[in-house]
């Protein structure tokens, strides 16, 4: 890992490195096993189409985790205090999902040196799948 990100290293408007991931059905099977979420809509094509879905689709929590990975890669694992998302669209196998994380504000409070971040996950057409926000506490050199 690169050196830990400090409060003084960032300013409003800064963006975290983009991470991209092309979703596969195998990802969904792996994630079902890893998370314990066995809703058949996410791995059983027959059940999903019978329920009126065009195919299996990604777990919302998988999308939240993908975006969370980019978040922890940027601010450091263990530094995220609050992370909330809205699942605006379903994700589909074959889609390339890319993260966008922007620093929206910095503040110093009793809780420490806090940064707020706007987080989105979108496909290659720019269709937003997940929109969220996070707050992290960063170490300070001060």
């Amino acid at each position: 890992m690169a050196g830990a990100l400090h409060f003084e290293d960032i300013k409003e408007g800064d963006e975290a490195p983009v991470t991209s991931h092309t979703l596969t059905r195998t990802d969904l099977v792996r994630y079902a096993g890893a998370s314990g979420d066995y809703n058949p809509m996410h791995h059983d094509e027959i059940a999903a189409t019978a329920a009126g879905q065009p195919s299996v689709f990604g777990h919302g929590m998988f999308s939240m985790g993908l975006l969370g990975t980019a978040l922890t890669d940027y601010v450091g694992a263990g530094n995220v205090r609050h992370y909330q998302v809205r699942f605006s669209r379903q994700t589909w196998p074959g889609e390339e999902l890319s993260t966008k994380i922007v620093v929206t504000s910095k503040r110093v409070e009793d809780a420490g040196h806090l940064v707020d971040l706007a987080c989105t996950l979108a496909n290659a057409d720019g269709e937003v799948k997940v929109v969220g926000e996070a707050t992290a506490v960063l170490p300070s050199r001060g």
Binding site: M1, Y31, G36, G60, G65, G78
Partner: protein
């Protein structure tokens, strides 16, 4: 009640009362997850996610980053208390047979009531997590869950349904709080969606219909400059060439001095939310919902109506500083929209 029989209003009220009875219900004692936090499950999870952070798999790297040992990814939280495949399968079997599964929770019972009401499909809509400390190898997490709210019937893009919000409080073996999670789902009637927009379908689906375009502005001699400006990433405001008053939306004459002479001013794009609404209904397929729309007061002094982007509808506040961003909504149309201004 089945989806085929139209419900009467009395039925609807009874059904809603059944749903509302679940609000505030909790599962008695905290329930312990099936296994301690362990390396094998963490490895499965980070591999599924493509997360290569070494603090989740390498003791030395974790210590070098200030942790007491290997930690679990924060968003993996829920995995430690999921009941697993066997219990999930038993629950599905019981539901199919119309009986209550052994160990069914109030949340399971609520799902059953909704299934009976024809709201058989489910999709996650929101998740919020707050972390008190990192979860470490060996942690035994327990969860207390409660049903925070059950909405009235809502028309959504996916269909008619009810939003269910559940709160999960995670504690460790000592009973100390570790994290909380608020999770909202939509249980909806399949096939009752008003819009195809929310369900765009996979890129490979042959039956996929292209998303309809946004309505076109009616271009006139007076307003064409505004949309031309937006295409060039400029926010242009009409200004009376006689008295200098700004006006929007564009129109032929000055309301103050009645002059027909006008030019344009390039606005800074900075402003504040003067007023706003969040549109839920009616839904038009070309738009995403809920859709926050604001009256923005520009720092130059006039106001305009625009979509808000990059902000949760709940977070919009009157008076908040916003800044313009130009969104190419399709190949032909670029519109100024506003997002939260960096402080």
């Amino acid at each position: 009640m089945s989806a085929a029989e139209p419900a009467t209003e009395v039925d609807d009220e009874k059904f809603l009362a059944r749903l509302k009875a679940f609000e505030g219900r909790t599962v008695g004692a905290p329930t312990e997850g099936p296994d301690a936090v362990n390396q094998a499950m963490i490895r499965h999870w980070v591999e599924a996610m493509g997360d290569e952070n070494p603090v989740y798999v390498d003791e030395q790297a974790a210590r070098a980053n200030g942790f007491p040992g290997i930690i679990a990814p924060p968003t993996m939280l829920q995995a430690w208390i999921m009941r697993g495949y066997k219990a999930t399968a038993e629950l599905a079997e019981a539901r199919a047979e119309g009986r209550r599964a052994v160990g069914a929770s109030p949340a399971d019972d609520l799902m059953h009531v909704l299934d009976e009401g024809g709201f058989t499909s489910v999709v996650a809509t929101n998740c919020e997590q707050e972390y008190r400390r990192s979860v470490v190898l060996g942690d035994r997490l327990s969860v207390s869950s409660s049903i925070e709210s059950v909405s009235t019937e809502k028309q959504t893009g996916l269909g008619i349904g009810h939003f269910i919000t559940t709160v999960l409080a995670f504690t460790d073996a000592a009973g100390e709080p570790v994290a909380t999670m608020r999770f909202r789902i939509l249980k909806f009637r399949p096939g009752t969606g008003k819009s195809t927009a929310a369900l765009s379908g996979p890129p490979t689906a042959g039956s996929e219909e292209p998303r309809p375009l946004r309505p076109r502005p009616a271009l006139t001699h007076d307003n064409a400059f505004f949309f031309d400006g937006a295409r060039q990433q400029k926010l242009l405001v009409q200004r009376c060439a006689s008295c200098g008053i700004l006006r929007h939306p564009p129109r032929p004459a000055c309301a103050v001095c009645r002059s027909f002479e006008w030019d344009t001013l390039e606005a800074s794009g900075r402003g504040t939310v003067y007023s706003y609404v969040v549109v839920h209904h009616p839904q038009v397929a070309a738009f995403d919902y809920p859709l926050p729309v604001a009256v923005v007061e520009l720092e130059e002094g006039t106001r305009l109506v625009a979509d808000l982007v990059g902000i949760e509808p709940d977070a919009v506040e009157i008076g908040m500083p916003v800044v313009v961003t130009f969104v190419a909504v399709d190949d032909e149309l670029t519109l100024p929209m506003f997002g939260p201004a960096p402080a």
